[in-house]
Symmetry: C2
Amino acid sequence: MSESSTPKHRLGPQRNPEIDAAVLAATRALLIENGYAGVSIDAIAKRANVGRPTIYRRWPSKAHIVHEAVYPVLDFESAPDFELDGTVAEDVTRLIEGAVALFGDPATRAAAPGLMYESRTDDDLRKVLVTDQLERIRAALALRIQQATDSGELRAGVDADAVLDIVAGASIFALSVRDVADSQRLAASLVDVVLHGILAPDP
Amino acid sequence: MSESSTPKHRLGPQRNPEIDAAVLAATRALLIENGYAGVSIDAIAKRANVGRPTIYRRWPSKAHIVHEAVYPVLDFESAPDFELDGTVAEDVTRLIEGAVALFGDPATRAAAPGLMYESRTDDDLRKVLVTDQLERIRAALALRIQQATDSGELRAGVDADAVLDIVAGASIFALSVRDVADSQRLAASLVDVVLHGILAPDP
């Protein structure tokens, strides 16, 4: 099923961007109103005023639609936009602010735990929703951390994977589980701990 | 429905601990074999060799059973076991190691995203599964961070909630989403970033 890992390109020129946009907008509205459990292909079809077959020709499952509706930024083929002429502190700050903005969107708050759950139940889905995109971000972050370690900006031995787990995991936990309202404060607090740690510097 | 927030005490002396243990063991086995989606009251009843009504007299839903099966440590009424005569670095290290051990258990890896998802769909469930227990841990951590800030062990202004989001969120993301195998390295990396941050100290 290699087709399902590139759903956006399956139909090529036949795809009508207006229908895609209507389906994705309907999905976001349903997520915000009824949560992940309240989204179904039927409900999306009705809300977007399109037929079920039209939807199934474009996406293999509800989870794929939700993923595309809430994680558009991850659809880029490119790595995260690290400005290699800036400092790593600026890059990590921007990464955390971006994650908090992404996972703090009302539709994404509703969707993230559902997508995490569904990705554990289906290996093909897991590949599309998690592995491919996460691997790209992970590789880019590992490279940036390595460069900044070599240049002496970072302490030796910082684990880039742990930074990724903190950026994504803490954001999802705060925004989807604890339902934190003040995302700006959340981002600032995460940046503070990740850059400087909690311990007072040696006197 | 105040009863459902204290399911363990609803039936008092009538409860048979052997049946409870059989149901919880069956639930853990099903989680490991089939994931959260593969757990149902029917499957638990069959595996534990008890009737469905026996289960429903004890727990209001599958999610409540799964929660009790994978988060036994959170059932204590007490706060986390901070040793107030130790250093805060030791306490935070133990907190992170405890979280990684808890969320790294095979049944918990399967259960955590499903419980996060279900907790967003049902306010009563959310209160039982998330709010009450998390609030206790959150309050204890906030107190410990405040004490260590006052004593000068920590930098001023460390946000205890961000530490909680990192400890729980990064653990769940690494163990349930990325399926990290080496929990020991994960715990050490998280401790390293949380205590010391990633930036090199000022020269």
